[in-house]
């Protein structure tokens, strides 16, 4: 992964996590919060190169 891409994703992850925490406080855990969480985790996977990791840990 290029450094630029990694920077974009890391930056995005921080924003997403912050947004998630904020929405969790105000709305609780609901469908929208969960979709945002999915987005957080998809981004985190890319930052950690985990969509290329195997099933077995």
């Amino acid at each position: 992964m290029s450094q630029d891409l990694e920077n974009y994703l890391s930056n995005a992850l921080k924003r997403l996590e912050s947004a998630y925490e904020e929405i969790l406080k105000t709305q609780g855990y609901n469908q929208d919060t969960e979709k945002l969480k999915i987005l957080c985790e998809l981004t985190r996977e890319q930052v950690q190169n985990e969509d290329s990791s195997s099933t077995a840990r």
């Binding site: 945002l36 985990e50 099933t55």
Partner: protein, 482 residues
């Protein structure tokens, strides 16, 4: 019945899922079966005719709005919503999550309905991890590198779909009528790369191995690998003596790789997708497996396959590797120090350290009712003793709450107890599997009324007590129990 299988991991994992998906089709011949995978691995489901529809989770598309200086969270959220809503509208009766990842667990919950049966990781309504089925709980606790599991991932997947595997489930893609490539007789296919650099051999090591092999046989060699591994193929071509070497690194698609492997006498390589493809084509494998991999879980499954283990490529001594390859080709017996594939479970015969065997025996005792193994050593005995004390202390606090006591008064003691149990597992590795079982069962309790949660918690502590009693009562009791 409509079933969704999630397999969001890599090529090799997808191929290891094939037998279980075929078994699922056998046990549910009328079901509509979908598979959700990543678009970059689409080739790995070609020829998997047990599946009615392949769906894709395009990470690239979902994250595209975020790849800019000012990430557009709203746009990315809308992309995710579209995917979730579309999958949710399918109203799956059964979702089987082979992915065991945070993403997949949230996704499964998001697309499930109240009547959807789920196997594998999902979430509770409050977002906490939910592990509904026993085999996924086993996976959570005991599967991975440096863990004691010896069941192959393919067998674990089969347990998740609640069907035993049969010989027929291990077969090549149902595309054979379209195959046109012809390979010379007795070809040895060499997969020069691996899914990760740390699992791969260098070009110089391959050259050394193949040069040694050339001293013993003149079988045709076909080199395969990914586009970015071309330079390895080129170096091997120029250095290996004897001719009859065909360099197809970066020049084949997955269907062609299947054709090559299925017609080969032997596949040599490290831990990667071609080895799992060979398991389906029943092509013998010689697998060089690094210690970053648990070979019990992800090794080759074809008959006449062998695994050489190593911490670094120095451990794969070239003339020894070549000699083993020669023996496989000629049906000769291979050194007992080499891991041998076998039928049944576990899938391999291997010499292991005593401590590793003890851990595996402990796992079988916890999960399958096998006798609890005798484990010697003062560290283990001390660990049991400490665990017993902490467990009793925690049970006392819970019984106090059960009788109407104030939870807040004892919460700190219970939390501290959990920390100590975690520490015992780190200090006494021979107790780690038991502690992980305990911790996983605690996770599985899930949210609910306090009385219900408390009853379930006490039950787990009681079960732990029973195991500790076996060891705490001395060796005679274990012998009597047998």
């Amino acid at each position: 019945m409509k079933i969704l299988v999630l397999q969001l991991a890599r090529l090799g994992d997808i191929y290891m899922s094939w037998p279980a998906i075929r078994a699922l089709r056998r046990s549910h011949p009328q079901a509509e079966i979908h598979i959700l995978t990543r678009p970059r691995f689409a080739g790995a489901v070609e020829g998997l005719t047990s599946v009615n529809q392949v769906r894709f989770l395009s990470t690239k598309q979902l994250l595209a709005p975020l790849i800019q200086n000012q990430p557009n969270v709203t746009a990315a959220f809308q992309e995710v919503s579209k995917v979730v809503d579309e999958l949710q509208s399918e109203k799956y009766d059964w979702i089987i999550n082979f992915s065991f990842s945070p993403v997949s667990s949230y996704l499964v919950h998001a697309i499930s309905h109240s009547t959807t049966k789920v196997s594998g990781y999902t979430r509770y309504e409050d977002g906490f991890l939910k592990i509904p089925d026993d085999i996924s709980a086993y996976f959570y606790a005991q599967v991975g590198v440096d863990r004691p599991n010896r069941y192959h991932i393919s067998e674990i997947f089969a347990t998740m779909v609640e069907t035993d595997l049969v010989e027929e489930d291990w077969r090549a893609p149902d595309l054979k009528n379209a195959w046109t490539m012809q390979v010379l007789p007795n070809t040895i296919t060499i997969h020069v790369g691996a899914s990760e650099k740390k699992k791969a051999l260098s070009d110089s090591k391959w050259i050394a191995i193949l040069s040694q092999l050339r001293k013993q046989c003149s079988n045709p060699l076909i080199l395969i690998g990914a586009e970015h591994e071309r330079s390895i193929g080129d170096k091997i071509m120029t250095a290996v003596p004897g001719g009859n070497v065909f360099n197809l690194v970066g020049r084949t698609n997955l269907t062609e790789v299947f054709q090559i492997i299925s017609q080969s006498a032997l596949l040599m390589g490290c831990d990667s997708a071609p080895m799992h493809m060979a398991s389906l084509t029943k092509t013998a494998c010689l697998n060089m497996s690094f210690s970053s991999v648990n070979f019990w879980e992800t090794g080759p499954r074809s008959p006449q396959s062998y695994i050489i283990k190593g911490d670094s490529e120095d451990d794969f001594v070239s003339d020894k590797v070549a000699a083993i390859a020669y023996k496989i080709l000629h049906g000769e017996k291979v050194d007992l120090s080499v891991v041998t594939a076998q039928k049944g479970n576990p899938s391999y015969r291997a010499f292991s350290k005593k401590e590793q065997d003890e851990q595996w025996n402990l796992v079988q005792a916890i999960y399958q009712g096998a006798p609890f193994p005798e484990i010697e050593g003062s560290l283990f005995t001390d660990g049991i003793s400490k665990l017993f004390e902490i467990n009793q202390l925690m049970l006392e606090q819970m019984k106090y709450i059960e009788k109407g006591g104030d939870l807040q008064k004892v919460a700190g003691i219970i939390d501290r107890g959990e920390e100590i149990i975690e520490t015992i597992a780190k200090l006494v590795p021979s107790l780690a599997a038991l502690v992980r079982w305990y911790q996983t069962e605690k996770i599985r309790i899930g949210p609910g009324p306090q009385e219900q949660v408390l009853a379930k918690t006490i039950h787990i502590h009681d079960l732990l007590s029973q195991v500790l009693d076996i060891y705490g009562s001395g060796q005679d009791t274990i012998a009597e129990a047998r």
